[in-house]
Symmetry: C2
Subunit: 359 residues, 2 copies
DNA sequence: TGTGGCTCCGTAAACGTTTACGATAGAAGC
DNA sequence: GCTTCTATCGTAAACGTTTACGGAGCCACA
């Protein structure tokens, strides 16, 4: 009975997509039936479902996302909003690795991932509002949380599902995952102190960024706990990049009483610091003890190998996905629905050659 | 008369967004008027427009994207589809820099950018079909084109606006922008030949990837044009990463008659190659002449500085945006509408210290 | 025969917009 | 006063889905 239908593919304009209505007409069934067949509902006969699926495949039909999400109020998308402030942020391999794990987690869960970047001229808050208001995604992941972060208040107020990569003092009771900066500071200072260092500097980013503040604080605590003096001038805020590390090196080496050891809070800073030291003919580990941050391919190039910390970033990315899904009613697996995940992610010490006793 | 309306914000459920209907009711006007006021149409009085805008701002209304794009058939989004095949692809700074320029271009053009990554288990073609069929974006940018690329045929057939970052032998008449690999090969070989090299190896990626094929071909041509012998064994296909460069080094150094010079087609390979040479106590530039690819922060760390090529990747990203917009009827600026942009992007030579005469 | 249940499917409403069209009112021209 | 024009606004259809509801057909059972 295939010839009964007057429908012909050639009748259609090639540039507009096939709609469910046309597919239904082609099959001589109602659009409701087509929809039910495609969505795997049970109240459709096996024979009809087979015909529908075959026709959809043959004609290349796939549902229009706008229509679908308008009706269901669900987009099937997760958005990761990356900071586009510094130039380095884009290439920041921390985010890329987290992304890798997140993507793998979402895979097979019927959710797609989109990465959004604010324009260079737009601040993070304004961009978030725009994105959130348009409801492009069912859930948001925000990164580089600020100490006071209006994004969090906004998302909480609008009850938009989200998870933060990083803590904040804004809001409360929202899901977040963060690196255990306190532990890193404690362990780094402990190691350097046991090597005999007493003047230790730290390179952090702008203090509005939460982790920067947290780390500087934990650093001070760790010093005081050991009876070592804390000198605020040794907490130096530079750009979150290799150039920042270079500048940090310049400032530290120019001091009247330079520190004998430094701790870096970003994985790129070591690169710039090494560069600066090389200019002065200084050797990391011998002339200045350096404890870096996340281990990663770029810093692995450095000689001597940089002493640093490590955590499984892809696993963290997957955990971000879990935490987010738990807050989205439409997507939450029943066992975790509504659970608010707040986790400090441990970092493991990776011995290298860039630290040693003071000269 | 503000008290006339019985509408109160507190009446609304906090978790569902304000719709245009409610906003209209609150203002005692029709939804059509609200829509016209918000969209800047002229057939609405100044007074009404002012009231509407004020209320929208106060109540935090912003239009639902699904409804809007369902009606208009336009999403206001551009999607950049990145390859997620290799692990390195994500961190590939070439893409990140292109992205930076693209983002800046789209900024202020009322278009947003989303970056999409296929899942690790999904091939590029299947992923593209899914994304394209769902019409998440008004235009697509595909990268890492294959020599035979079914994605291009598919997009052409479905008449979905796109631009390719990279040429392909599939399809024709579609917009693309590509690096001028021919020129790079010619110049690299020319330089090495003039230094006296006769056995030159080249490291490229899998030959399905178009640029890999193009480069290998241009390399051969450049040799033959100078009367130098072409040895197919010296075209070595390795992974597109620093590990690939390491492997390339191993294979080259193990040859009975090793080449005296090499050309690399990826910006990371130099890193691995340097690593491998260091293991053997060999010095780049002295024991093996190396010409690398795109200049970038990672390879800038290497000593001796690697001789390579450079192009303004952010500008290329912006050009990709232009080329794409020209093919989207709804977004094309009138002066460029319908123009199909196909461009080879020149690369400039950056002298370094990693090449020199044969030993 | 009547009742109840099941399977399958069609009908139509709803999601939130935009926009073509028509309606109204006032102004302007004669 | 009649017509015409303009400015402003309301009405309703349309975009492509999903899904609640009900109806038709069939079978089983009392």
């Amino acid at each position: 009975m295939a010839g009964v239908s007057a429908y012909r593919v050639a009748d259609r304009e090639a540039d507009e997509a096939l709609s469910i209505r046309e597919l239904a007409r082609h099959l001589n069934v109602s659009i409701g039936t087509v929809s039910r067949a495609l969505n795997g509902r049970h109240d459709v006969s096996d024979e009809t479902r087979r015909r529908v699926l075959a026709a959809a495949d043959e004609l290349g039909y796939s549902p229009n996302q706008s229509g679908r999400s308008l009706r269901q109020g669900v987009t099937g998308m997760i958005a990761l909003i990356l900071p586009a402030s510094g130039k380095m942020a884009l290439a920041d391999t921390i985010f890329m690795k987290v992304l890798e794990g997140l993507r793998a987690f979402l895979d097979g869960r019927n959710l797609d991932l989109m990465v959004l970047l604010s324009g260079p001229g737009e601040n993070a808050y304004a961009y978030l509002r725009r994105v959130a208001a348009r409801r492009l995604a069912d859930g948001l992941i925000i990164a580089e949380t600020q100490r006071i972060d209006p994004r969090i208040d906004y998302l909480l107020e609008k009850e938009i599902p989200f998870v933060a990569f990083g803590r904040s003092e804004s809001g409360s009771g929202y899901p977040w995952i963060d690196l255990d900066f306190e532990h890193v500071a404690e362990e780094a200072v402990g190691r350097l102190a046991s090597l005999g260092h007493e003047r230790i500097a730290v390179a952090t980013a702008a203090s509005e960024i939460n982790y920067s503040y947290v780390f500087a604080n934990a650093f001070r605590e760790a010093l005081l706990r050991r009876g070592l003096p804390f000198d605020p001038h040794l907490v130096i805020r530079v750009d979150n990049s290799d150039d920042g590390g270079y500048e940090f090196g310049s400032r530290v080496l120019a001091m009247r009483r330079p520190p004998t050891a430094v701790v870096l809070v970003n994985e790129f800073m070591a690169i710039g610091l090494y560069r600066r030291m090389k200019e002065e003919g200084l050797i990391p580990g011998r002339d200045l003890a350096i404890v870096g941050f996340q281990e990663e391919p770029n810093s692995r190039l450095l000689t001597p190998r940089v002493t640093c910390f490590r955590t499984a970033l892809p696993a963290l990315g997957a955990r971000l996905g879990e935490a987010l899904l738990a807050t989205i009613p439409a997507h939450a697996p029943s066992e975790s629905a509504g659970r608010i995940i707040q986790e400090l992610w441990p970092m493991e010490f990776v011995p290298g050659e860039s630290d040693g006793p003071p000269r």
